[in-house]
C-alpha cells in the first residue's frame, strides 16, 4: 500500500510540475493534460515494478484469469483508439464522389448508371406529360421529344465551364486534390512542403501552370531544389484529373498576382 501511495504522490508531483512548466511555455491545455497523463502512467509503471509477486494459478482459475485478461485488453485497446480525435468520413465522401465522377462516367458501369438515370428521367417526363394530357384531354404528346430536354445527358463540368463558372471549378479542384496540404494560398494551408502560390500568376502562364501540374519535374521553384530533386510533388495528377479540371485549376491559379507575397521564382527545367 505504501508503494502505491509513494508512487502516486511522486506521479502527482511530477504531473503538476509538468503542467506548470508547459503552461509557462504556452502549450495548449490539451498538451498540458497529455503530459499530466504521461506522468501518472509513469507512476503506474513504477507501481507495477515494485508490486508483490503474483501467486501461481492453475486449472480453471488460470483459464478464467486468461479470459478476463483478454477482455481487459480488448476493452483498453478499443476505448484507447476511440479516445483519439476521429476523422469524419463524411468530410471525404462528397469529395471522393466528385473526383471519381468523370472516371465513373467513362466506365461500362458508369455508362450503364447514366443510361439508367436517363431512362428514369425520361420515364418521369413521360408520366408528367401523360398527366398533363389527361388534364388537357389531348394527344399531342407523341410529337414532343423528351430526350432533347434531358439535362442528364450533358457533362456537369462542361456545362458549368461553358456557363463561365470555370474559376469555381478550379477552386474546387484545389480543395478536392488537397493542394493546400503542401501549398499556402490566401494565408491558408501549406506546411512549407511546397512554395506559397499567391503570386504565381505573375510568373507563369496558364499553360505553364498546366505543364507543372501534369509534369512536376518540368519547373522547379527557387529554394526548393531538394524537394524538386526528390520529386516531392506527385506526378499523379495527369492520371487522376480530367484535362478540363487541370485547365480550370491552372486558370484559377493564374489569377493570383499578389506581389506582396514572396512566391519563389519558377525555373524551367524542361
Amino acid at each position: 500500500m505504501w508503494n502505491v501511495i509513494k508512487k502516486l504522490s511522486i506521479g502527482l508531483v511530477v504531473g503538476i510540475a509538468l503542467v506548470g512548466i508547459s503552461r509557462a511555455l504556452e502549450f495548449p491545455f490539451v498538451f498540458q493534460m497529455m503530459f499530466f497523463g504521461q506522468a501518472m502512467f509513469g507512476a503506474a509503471v513504477f507501481m507495477l515494478l515494485d508490486a508483490p509477486s503474483v501467486r501461481t494459478m492453475s486449472g480453471a482459475k488460470s483459464v478464467i484469469a486468461i479470459v478476463v485478461f483478454y477482455v481487459v485488453l480488448c476493452t483498453v485497446f478499443v476505448s484507447g483508439a476511440s479516445m483519439w480525435p476521429q476523422f469524419d468520413p463524411e468530410d471525404e465522401k462528397g469529395k471522393i464522389a466528385k473526383i471519381l465522377k468523370p472516371k465513373l462516367a467513362a466506365t461500362e458501369q458508369g455508362k450503364a448508371e447514366e443510361l439508367i438515370a436517363r431512362v428514369k428521367a425520361l420515364d418521369e417526363q413521360v408520366k408528367a406529360l401523360e398527366s398533363r394530357l389527361m388534364s388537357l384531354g389531348g394527344g399531342r404528346a407523341v410529337k414532343e421529344s423528351p430526350v432533347a430536354e434531358s439535362p442528364v445527358a450533358e457533362s456537369p463540368v462542361v456545362s458549368k465551364a461553358a456557363a463561365g463558372d470555370f474559376m469555381r471549378v478550379g477552386e474546387e479542384q484545389w480543395q478536392l486534390q488537397e493542394c493546400y496540404n503542401c501549398h499556402k494560398l490566401k494565408g491558408e494551408g501549406g506546411k512549407k512542403r511546397g512554395p506559397e502560390l499567391d503570386n504565381i500568376g505573375s510568373y507563369l502562364t496558364v499553360d505553364e501552370i498546366k505543364q507543372k501540374i501534369m509534369d512536376p519535374k518540368s519547373i522547379m521553384a527557387e529554394g526548393f531544389e531538394k524537394e524538386w530533386e526528390k520529386g516531392k510533388m506527385p506526378d499523379k495528377f495527369k492520371d487522376v484529373m480530367e484535362p478540363n479540371d487541370i485547365t480550370a485549376l491552372a486558370t484559377w491559379l493564374s489569377t493570383f498576382k499578389n506581389t506582396s507575397v514572396n512566391t519563389p521564382k519558377p525555373i524551367k527545367k524542361k
Partner: protein, 567 residues
C-alpha cells in the same frame, strides 16, 4: 486433427483458390452485398486472418529450424522439444492458412468481381500457377519435415535440418511472390511522362512484381514474421506454463517462453526501421501518401501505433525485469554509471544532432556512435557503478520519456485541415513532433532494451537462473506481447491498405463503391480487435489440441534434463 483431415482442408482451400481464379474470368458478375460488415470490411477480415495465419506458418519454421539447429549443436534437448511442439501447432495452422487464402479469393471475387477479374488477369501466372504450386510444395515439405522427425535422428539430423531450411526457403519464396501483387496495389510501376495505363500495358509480370515497395515490404514482413513466430512461441509457452502440473514442466515452459521472447525481441528491434524504410519508399513513390499518413486522415492511426509500440517495449523490458528476479545473485550485478547517464542523455542529444545532421549525413554518426559506445569503451576506467535494479528503473523512465516524445503530435486534430490553434503544438516545440523527435524516441526504446538484455546476460554469467520460479505475472506479459504485436500488425496492415485512398490499385483502378473513404480509427480498432480475437481463439484451440497436458506428460523424457537451477 489427423493428417487426412488436414489434407482435405488444404485440398478444399486449393480448390477454392483455383475455382476463384477460374470464376474471375467469367464476365458480368454482379457484386454480392455483405450485410452488417459491408463488402470492404468483409474482405478486410478474411485478408487479415489469412495474413496472420500466413505470418505464423512462415515465421514459425524460421524459428523452429534455428531452435532445432541450436539443440543439435548444443546437444540441449529443450531446443529440440521446443522446435517439435511449435511445428505441431504450425502443421494444424497450415491448413487454416490455405483455407483462409481460398476464402479470401472468393470473398474478394464476390465483393469486387470486376476488380478481382482485372487483378487476377494482371497476375494470372502468379495466382493460377506459381502461388498454388508453392503452397503445395510448402505443404509437402512441411509434412515431410514433421513426419521424418523421429526417423532422421542422430547422424541423420543434418538431413532433417536441411529439410527445414528447404521449408524456410519455400516459405520465403511464397512470401516474396505474394508480396508482389500486394505491393503492386499500393505502388504500381510508373515512369516520368508516361501515363500509368500505358505503362501497365507494356509492363512484364516482373515489372509489376518488382515495384518500388516490393523489397521493403519483403524485408518488413520477414522480420515481422520472425518476431511473430517468437511471440507466438511465448504465448504457447505461457499457456503451457499455466497448465503445467509439475515444477519440471514449469521449468521447461519458463525456459521456452524466455527463448521465444528473446528471438521475438531481437526481430522486433529491427521492425521500426524496416517499417520506416517501407514508409520512406511509399512517400518517395508519391509524396501525397506522406501527409495522408502522418498529418491528415491516418495521423491518429500513427498515434495509436506509437502507443502500442511504447506498451510493447515496456512489456518487453518488464519481462526482463521479472526474469532478473529469478536469478540468484542478481543483487551483486553492477554496471558503470555511464550506462544510466547515456540512457538519459540519448534522446535529447539525438534530437539535437538529427536536427542539424539529418540521415544519411555521416556527421550524425560521428556524434551518436561515441555516445552509444561510451559505456562499453570507457566504463572500465570509471570507478562509479550502479546496481542492475537502478539501471533498469532509469531505463523504464526513459522508455516512458521516449514514448511520450513519440506520442506528441503536431496537434490534436484528425486532419491538418481541422487544426485549431488551441489544439496545435507551439511552433517553437514543433521539433518534438518532427521526424528527428520520433527517430530519437524509437532509438531510445531500442537502446534501453539492448542495454537491459546486455545486463541480463551479465547477470546469468554471475548468478544462477532458477527456471520455473519466475513471477506468474510474466506469463500475462507473454500473452500481452503476443496479443499486442498482432493488434499492431492489424493496425499497420489497415494503414498500408488505406493509403491507396479511393483506389483498389493506386492510380489505376478507382473504387467507385460507397465504401470508398477513410474509416475512423475507432471503427478500425473494433474490427482489428475482432480479427485478433478470432485468430487467438483458433490458435488457442490449436495449442490445446496439439499440446494438451496429457501429451506434455508423455514427452517429459524428451526434454526432461531441465535442471531447476541451470544457466
Amino acid at each position: 486433427m489427423k493428417a487426412w483431415q488436414r489434407s482435405l482442408v488444404s485440398a478444399c482451400a486449393l480448390l477454392l483458390l483455383f475455382g476463384g481464379t477460374a470464376y474471375a474470368q467469367v464476365s458480368d458478375i454482379t457484386p454480392v452485398e455483405f450485410s452488417y460488415t459491408g463488402n470492404r470490411t468483409a474482405v478486410w477480415i478474411v485478408a487479415q486472418l489469412h495474413t496472420l495465419f500466413g505470418a505464423f506458418i512462415l515465421g514459425a519454421p524460421i524459428f523452429v529450424v534455428i531452435s532445432e539447429w541450436l539443440g543439435y549443436r548444443k546437444q540441449d534437448l529443450r531446443y529440440e522439444r521446443l522446435a517439435k511442439e511449435v511445428t505441431k501447432v504450425t502443421v494444424v495452422l497450415f491448413s487454416m492458412t490455405a483455407l483462409t487464402g481460398g476464402l479470401f479469393i472468393f470473398v474478394l471475387l464476390s465483393a469486387y468481381p470486376q476488380f478481382t477479374a482485372w487483378f487476377i488477369n494482371q497476375f494470372h501466372l502468379v495466382f493460377a500457377v506459381i502461388y498454388p504450386s508453392l503452397f503445395i510444395s510448402g505443404t509437402i515439405v512441411l509434412y515431410m519435415y514433421y513426419y521424418t522427425w523421429e526417423t532422421w535422428k542422430g547422424e541423420k539430423k543434418g538431413r532433417h535440418i536441411a529439410l527445414g531450411v528447404l521449408l524456410i526457403l519455400v516459405g520465403m519464396v511464397t512470401l516474396f511472390v505474394i508480396n508482389g501483387p500486394t505491393s503492386f496495389m499500393n505502388t504500381p510501376p510508373k515512369a516520368e511522362g508516361v501515363s500509368s495505363q500505358e505503362l501497365l500495358a507494356s509492363a512484364t509480370l516482373w515489372d509489376k512484381i518488382a515495384n518500388q515497395t516490393w523489397m521493403p515490404l519483403n524485408l518488413h514482413r520477414i522480420d515481422g514474421n520472425v518476431a511473430f513466430g517468437g511471440f507466438m512461441t511465448g504465448l504457447i509457452a505461457a499457456y503451457m506454463f499455466m497448465g503445467a502440473k509439475s515444477q519440471e514442466e514449469r521449468a521447461y515452459y519458463d525456459w521456452m517462453g524466455f527463448a521465444g521472447n528473446l528471438i521475438a525481441v531481437g526481430a522486433t528491434l529491427f521492425q521500426p526501421f524496416t517499417g520506416l524504410l517501407l514508409a520512406y519508399e511509399m512517400c518517395d513513390y508519391d509524396f501525397s501518401f506522406c501527409p495522408y499518413m502522418m498529418a491528415d486522415q491516418l495521423s491518429m492511426f500513427f498515434e495509436m501505433q506509437g502507443a502500442m509500440i511504447g506498451l510493447m517495449f515496456l512489456a518487453i523490458n518488464y519481462y526482463v525485469w521479472l526474469s532478473l528476479k529469478r536469478i540468484e545473485g542478481v543483487e551483486k550485478v553492477r554496471m558503470t554509471i555511464l550506462v544510466p547517464i547515456v540512457m538519459v542523455a540519448f534522446p535529447f542529444v539525438m534530437m539535437v544532432v538529427m536536427n542539424y545532421y539529418w540521415i544519411p549525413d555521416p556527421m550524425s554518426l560521428a556524434f551518436l556512435l561515441p555516445l552509444v559506445l561510451a559505456p562499453f569503451l570507457l566504463g572500465r576506467f570509471i570507478p562509479w557503478t550502479v546496481s542492475a535494479r537502478t539501471v533498469m528503473k532509469i531505463g523504464f523512465l526513459m522508455v516512458i520519456v521516449g514514448d511520450a516524445i513519440w506520442l506528441t503530435p503536431h496537434g490534436f486534430a484528425a486532419t491538418g485541415a481541422k487544426m485549431l490553434p488551441e489544439l496545435e503544438l507551439p511552433e517553437a516545440w514543433g521539433f518534438l513532433a518532427g521526424m528527428p523527435g520520433k527517430l530519437s524516441a524509437i532509438f531510445t526504446l531500442v537502446f534501453v532494451t539492448v542495454f537491459n538484455y546486455v545486463m541480463y546476460n551479465r547477470a546469468i554469467r554471475q548468478g544462477i537462473i532458477v527456471w520455473g520460479k519466475i513471477d506468474f505475472a510474466s506469463q500475462f506479459v507473454l500473452i500481452f506481447l503476443a496479443f499486442t504485436s498482432i493488434w499492431t500488425m492489424g493496425l499497420m496492415g489497415a494503414v498500408r491498405s488505406l493509403v491507396r485512398k479511393y483506389f483498389h490499385t493506386y492510380g489505376l483502378v478507382p473504387d467507385f463503391t460507397a465504401e470508398s473513404f477513410t474509416p475512423t480509427l475507432s471503427y478500425s480498432a473494433w474490427w482489428i480487435t475482432g480479427i485478433t480475437v478470432v485468430f487467438f481463439t483458433i490458435l488457442s484451440f490449436a495449442v490445446i489440441l496439439t499440446l494438451r497436458p496429457s501429451d506434455a506428460k508423455k514427452q517429459v523424457p524428451e526434454g526432461s534434463p531441465v535442471p531447476a537451477r541451470a544457466k
